[in-house]
């Protein structure tokens, strides 16, 4: 804790902020349990669950067998028994074995039960590229989840949101997929951990991260930092940056309000462009703000290829220049 901050404020990285949020949720409710591969003694491959096994024991921090379907499937059973499991999927690319349990069971079970069942399960998924990893460790699968009714999908871009939103996700009686921007795990900021959870911005709300008047630049998760940098870099225009935070449902009220002010929208994400989240945002914003738009919504995304070997990832991932190119394209109208 830095000496210049208040007793309850701390300079935390995104990783440590999620860790602190998990700890607070576990302290507040004995039904909160952690499960996944290597989340126990190791504290997770990114150390996001560091220390929890030691302090809460093997009954509440469960090193599971190596089986993602098993993790989500048993989490559903635990939730039916009254627990609030927080599952770690070790990497984005290893989610897919759990697709059936997530999409046909977790997402639909409340509706199936006519509202009799609550499924307060959180899936934490470190996602995105840019860390020089081997295959399957750099995926951005959020659109699959956004297209699945019954799930809530959120992501974070800074330590403050990380600390609060993980607690909100755990507190929600709906299943929440919580995407963590792995290449930003070490970004630091001051987090005031003394506030009550109720005072935090709702996890469903988008946030204007930088005010501007000429163009709205929308990003989420790891791309928010890039978007802010792009906004700074473009000294010719006043660019408003919106941090989406909630991927499903999208807070279109905030997004459209911004677009109505600026008249232009660029959306950036790492996931493949086609049928990515940018498509939904472009489609919906165009419908809602048709007469306000001076240009079509411009999407900047990963290419429609498998995530490449790491020596090519700087070309695959939208960087500052590609985002600025998108901005230029929007201003070309």
């Amino acid at each position: 804790m830095s000496g210049t901050t208040s007793a309850n404020a701390a300079k935390l990285t995104i990783g440590k902020a999620v860790n602190a949020g998990l700890r607070r949720a576990m302290e507040a409710d004995p039904k909160v349990i952690i499960m996944g591969e290597d989340v126990g003694r190791l504290g997770g491959v990114f150390r996001v669950t560091d220390g929890l096994y030691k302090d809460f024991g093997a009954d509440r921090v469960i090193d599971t067998p190596l089986a993602e379907s098993g993790i989500v499937g048993t989490a559903i059973g635990l939730a039916m028994r009254g627990y609030r499991p927080v599952c770690e999927i070790q990497f984005d690319g290893f989610f897919f074995p759990a697709a059936n349990q997530t999409f046909t069971q977790l997402a639909k079970m409340r509706a199936r039960s006519g509202g009799r069942l609550r499924l307060p399960v959180v899936l934490r998924i470190p996602y995105g590229g840019g860390i020089g990893a081997v295959e399957h460790h750099s995926e951005s699968p959020e659109a699959y989840f956004a297209h699945t009714p019954g799930l809530r999908v959120v992501t974070v871009a800074n330590p403050v949101d990380s600390y609060w939103m993980i607690q909100q996700a755990i507190a929600s009686d709906d299943p929440v997929v919580f995407f963590e921007p792995k290449r930003r795990y070490y970004e630091k900021a001051e987090v005031d951990t003394s506030a009550p959870l109720e005072a935090a911005t709702p996890m469903g709300a988008a946030r204007v991260a930088r005010a501007g008047t000429d163009l709205t630049l929308l990003a989420y998760g790891p791309m928010v930092k890039t978007a802010l940098q792009a906004a700074e870099a473009d000294t010719d225009h006043s660019i408003e940056v919106v941090d989406l935070r909630s991927i499903s449902p999208v807070d279109f009220a905030t997004v459209c309000a911004s677009v109505r002010r600026t008249g232009r929208l660029v959306v950036a994400h790492e996931a493949p462009l086609s049928s990515g989240l940018g498509a939904e945002i472009a489609a919906r914003v165009t419908e809602d703000c048709f007469y306000a738009l001076e240009a079509p919504v411009i999407r900047v995304g990963g290419f429609d290829t498998p995530y490449p070997p790491s020596r090519l990832e700087e070309h695959y991932l939208p960087d500052l220049d590609r985002v600025l190119d998108g901005v230029d394209r929007a201003f070309a109208y």
């Binding site: 067998p65 089986a67 499937g73 048993t74 059973g77 074995p97 069971q105 199936r112 609550r118």
Partner: protein, 369 residues
């Protein structure tokens, strides 16, 4: 390095001829009244089933998955459960539903298409039917892990059971559930109704060896029981549940039985199986053998059988009437219960669709649709 394929032991307490046999590991001492009670169960669930098939034929149900032939496996195991226990069924487990006090209306509602669920799992200790094969086995294992964490084991503790078919043993999820249960020593009984068929595929396409043997590979006991013997199913399940309750971990029970009907009302089994097989199994009918035991031993008289018949008759009528009376859901129910907390997109879509429906008002008597 070699694997022995011995003819599996089949636990049996009641022969097809209706004679009681003893088994050292599974002593069972039922009163005549209890035996009559199980007979009544068997007859009544078969009656619900028969009616449901008929209701599908006349268009009152969209589909029905018949339990014909599997009554003993379901009633035997279902009656082994205690109120605090939790069952995770598949889609054909109407006999277990009966034991758990789930009203036939709820089952009919599912197959009529007025609901995808229809009862409260907590109220009945009976989860919703699960259609995606294998999925529920993991839910059961997880629930059992919760029971452990609640400290709800012991003599009067809670046990969990999950039901699935022979085909389901091929599914990754089922095997992951075996392993999660084994590694965690979770109090769960895996009850496989091996009815010899997965739609058109015979047992041999699903497993090279008898299914109960799978358990040993994961480190817990597996046992094959005569699935048409309601007493053996009761005794074996009771023992396995008690083991679970007492912290001895999982058991796999393979109830060796036969699907006497079609897979569902959509299916035509004449395309893939011969009638001789069916004939052979008819001789092992689970109801006939208890009937024969009861009447031969004088544990039930004609009046009793007549009374059960009458009750079945009356139930059949109720099933028909109740099914027809099931109300259709309201259009805007679509948007209910998808989420627990308010959801901006669904609220918007609900409002939009309400307006849309209202726009037909006055267009025609039927609202224009």
């Amino acid at each position: 390095m070699s694997v022995t394929h011995e003819e599996p032991e089949l636990i049996q307490l009641l022969t097809p001829e209706g004679e009681l046999v003893e088994h050292p590991d599974y002593p069972l001492d039922l009163s005549a009244e209890e035996l009559r009670g199980m007979y009544r169960d068997l007859v009544l669930v078969r009656r619900i089933d028969t009616e449901a098939v008929a209701l599908q034929r006349v268009g009152e149900l969209g589909l029905w998955a018949s339990l014909l032939g599997q009554e003993a496996a379901q009633i035997g195991s279902g009656r082994a459960l205690r109120p605090q226990d939790m069952a995770f069924p598949s889609y054909r487990d109407h006999g277990v539903a009966w034991c758990r006090g789930v009203d036939h209306k709820a089952l009919l509602g599912l197959y009529r298409g007025v609901t995808n669920g229809g009862w409260d799992p907590a109220d009945h200790g009976f989860h919703l039917y699960t259609i995606v094969i294998g999925s529920q086995a993991l839910h059961a294992a997880g629930y059992a892990m919760g029971v452990q964490r609640d400290g709800a084991l012991g003599d009067d503790g809670t046990a969990v059971i999950t039901y699935f078919g022979d085909g389901a043993t091929s599914q990754g999820d089922t095997n992951e559930a075996f392993n999660f249960a084994a590694v965690n020593n979770a109090p769960v009984v895996f009850f496989c109704q091996n009815n010899q068929w997965a739609i058109s595929e015979p047992m041999e396409r699903q497993s090279r060896v008898p299914i109960y043997q799978r358990a040993a590979g994961f480190g817990f006991p597996g046992i094959r029981v005569d699935g048409n013997d309601v007493l053996a199913c009761l005794a074996v399940t009771r023992a396995a549940l008690q083991n679970a309750r007492e912290g001895q971990g999982p058991t796999l029970i393979e109830a060796f039985t036969y699907r006497m009907g079609a897979h569902t009302t959509n299916d035509d089994p004449t395309r893939y199986r011969v009638s001789a097989e069916l004939e052979e199994w008819r001789r092992k009918d689970p109801i006939a053998r208890l009937h024969s035991h009861l009447s031969r031993t004088g544990r039930a008289d004609d009046a009793f059988f007549a009374a059960v018949e009458a009750e079945a008759e009356e139930l059949g009528e109720r099933v028909r009437a109740d099914c027809r009376a099931l109300p259709d859901p309201e259009p805007l129910d679509l948007f209910d219960n998808v989420y627990a907390d308010p959801h901006v997109r669904l609220e918007e879509q609900r409002a939009g669709y309400a307006d849309y429906l209202a726009s037909f008002d006055g267009v025609g008597a039927e609202g224009g649709r």
